[in-house]
Symmetry: C2
Subunit: 437 residues, 2 copies
């Protein structure tokens, strides 16, 4: 196993060192499936890198689902499709039971400019884990399940993580069906159209535990020099849209003191968001990613600006404090500049804290496999945060090169992808034994 701890090690086929109590996945098979799935809805990035576009519940998503379901059925797993289109494949326990499984999973829908690993890794590693067990004849105390959840990305339908949200009982199925996407399509209609409106009711059955493998989608592991992340939870998210209304005026003829410049106010808010993040300190992040000025001309003081503020923190109290300080600043600034600022909440999620026992297990298992391991919160949302409402949950992160994601240039070394699957396999086996939980 020592060779696997080195990032320079390549993917690995089964070797004689595989034994029933120290199994390892078939890395080549996992990588081949990642390539095959990426070829469904293929796109090419500016640098020639290959990615995928499989927006939720489109034809491309259906093709991706069909491929993954084929793989599940080839393993003779029990495949169920639920009312929101989540697909769960289960291998029975030693005693033939299918209930209260050790569950893993993620998503296979992508953003319009998706990479090859975001979501896909977690689903295909789950299949690989189960195939490894079957191949080695390893039976388990609890059932093993692997799921892919509907519309995790939120790129077509809002909210994101819809499938796992509905699975966990956070939204009724009726409400979910009526969601209308960016193209005017309705979730219920699209599920039926692509043949994934299943019979299993939501909320779904409660697993014994849930562990999701995912690429980090951020640069921290790589930059800090850790190979595996033991994810402690998911940051709380506060998204606010601000509409600033000032006064359009000629940029040459309006003295500075007479201006009500919506563009300046937007810029000042963006610099305040940075100042606030610096002051609060890590792991707080604040981002102004979107600014639209009107009329957006070189020589016209902007009449209006629409912008977004994205604040995230792992601590709900600190997140609330950052919101309070932002709002106080907006009040001061609007009074000083003679503009109005209206606020609209686009999203608000409290931080999610994963189960300490599962986090510790991930950390220990990855470390035992020779990896450097960092405990860190997830900055992005994941299906695991919904499943955490139901059962003890944590996540495993692999490095993402440069933190690039939602981009065909998304990259994780082959050896890291395979190591992530090996950690997942060991963690699931341990959870199955009931020694940790």
């Amino acid at each position: 196993m020592t060779a696997m701890a080195s990032p320079s090690a390549g993917p690995r086929a089964p070797t004689d060192s595989n034994t029933a109590d120290r199994p390892a996945v078939d890395g080549r098979r996992l990588l081949r499936r990642l390539e095959e799935l990426a070829a469904v809805g293929p796109i090419t990035g500016a640098d020639g890198s290959r990615g995928s576009a499989r927006l939720a519940l489109t034809d491309a998503d259906r093709d991706g689902r069909d491929l993954v379901v084929t793989w599940m059925r080839d393993l003779a797993l029990s495949v169920s499709i639920d009312a929101i289109g989540n697909v769960i494949a289960t291998r029975p326990a030693r005693d033939g039971s299918l209930t209260s499984p050790v569950m893993t999973g993620s998503h296979i829908d992508t953003v319009r400019t998706g990479g090859r690993f975001d979501g896909n890794l977690g689903v295909l590693a789950g299949i690989e884990v189960i195939e490894t067990l079957i191949e080695r004849g390893i039976e388990t105390t609890r059932p093993f399940a692997v799921a892919f959840f509907t519309n995790e990305e939120g790129a077509r339908f809002s909210p994101d993580m819809l499938g796992s949200l509905v699975y966990a009982g956070g939204m009724t199925i009726e409400e979910a069906y009526d969601i209308v996407g960016i193209d005017g399509a309705r979730v219920g209609d699209e599920l039926a159209r692509i043949g994934y409106l299943g019979a299993q009711p939501c909320p779904g059955p409660v697993p014994h535990a849930f562990v999701e493998l995912h690429i980090e989608q951020g640069p921290v592991l790589e930059l800090e020099g850790f190979r595996i992340g033991a994810v402690t939870g998911v940051q709380g998210i506060s998204w606010t849209e601000l509409t600033i209304t000032g006064q359009s005026n000629h940029a040459g003829t309006t003295p500075m003191r007479f201006r009500h410049d919506a563009g300046y106010v937007a810029a000042r808010i963006a610099t305040f968001v940075r100042e606030l993040a610096t002051e609060i300190g890590h792991p707080h992040v604040g981002t102004v990613g979107k600014i639209d000025l009107h009329p957006n001309l070189v020589n016209v003081v902007a009449a209006t600006a629409v912008m977004t503020v994205d604040l995230r923190n792992t601590d709900e109290a600190v997140l609330q404090e950052s919101e309070r300080r932002l709002h106080a600043f907006l009040d001061e600034l609007s009074a000083a500049e003679g503009v109005t600022i209206s606020k609209r909440t686009l999203a608000r999620f409290e931080p999610v804290i994963f189960d300490d026992r599962v986090i510790d297990l991930v950390e220990k298992t990855a470390s035992d496999l020779g990896n450097t391991v960092m405990r860190l919160p997830s900055g992005a949302g994941h299906d695991a945060q919904m499943m955490a409402r139901l059962c003890p949950t944590a996540m495993i992160f692999t490095q993402s090169h440069l933190g690039i994601s939602h981009n065909p240039a998304e990259h994780t070394d082959d050896a890291d992808l395979v190591m992530g699957a090996d950690v997942l396999l060991r963690v699931m086996l341990e959870l199955s034994e009931g020694t940790v939980i």
Copy 2:
């Protein structure tokens, strides 16, 4: 005349108080012509206000030109069209001479969302001045000329003030003909197409003096409580487009210290432009009117930003100093944030200083007519700044309500429009006598 000094006075018809040495224009006629011209290419603003859209050398511009030329010809003026489409109507001097006239004029092209007065007032007031002289039988020592210049706005063809620039010899006619507009049309072709490619050569004949009446297009006169502006010159203009290239990243997963956020850098530049303007002080103005982020999404650190910086000052040395300080700041900021910033000059004009004798004459004349008068520079560019290359020049400003311009809501009180024409009439008569220049 006292009543006219009050902003509450309405438009005025000729009265008995009109004498050969104290003539006044026919206010109703001027206002009626403003309405008639505004009805060519009519548009309606969001608040129901009426404006015009007559982009240079379009069919609508041709229709406006034809109407104004009809009014010129109705007065039996000598109408000439030059090679760049400027139209000049001249009333001979007492001795029959047509050379070295006292000249006024402005433009009748508009932006896409033009008001009723920008440009039009100066042209129609010039016609009104001449009609008043004809009506009263007042002969003058020098000829009187009124012009409208091609493509002052620059909304279809760049640069703005094209007709007066070519008239003054600042660009060759060949170069001007080859300018291609936003719709792909060529100036030379469009002049011929609408029948305004004239025979008079450019550069044009040198006037004795030039005075342009224009609405302020800014709020200063209204806010400072002055009725008439004696314009001292035109601010220098520096327009720069900045392209900031950073690194696109996930807003949730990328710690602040690892970011290269083009959106933050754009915002920080915009706040610096404000700080710089505050520090330099009036009359310096600095505006960031245009910011385009990419990909412009709530949860993505912007990869690139394209923005404009508009700096203006009446003092070339101060304008250059502000450019130097901006560039030094850009160097610091790009190094600190790990982004690249490329610069492209969109426009650069040195300040123009008008003729003190003509400025003094405008100030005294307006004051003699009972007005409060403010000496101020123009923040916007005007044809007068090109004519200032040829002869003693100044401008007369009337108030613009709230400084709103390039908008159908552009408004100047009727009494102010008429007073502006009266000041123009008196100033031109004085210039004709040769006592000032």
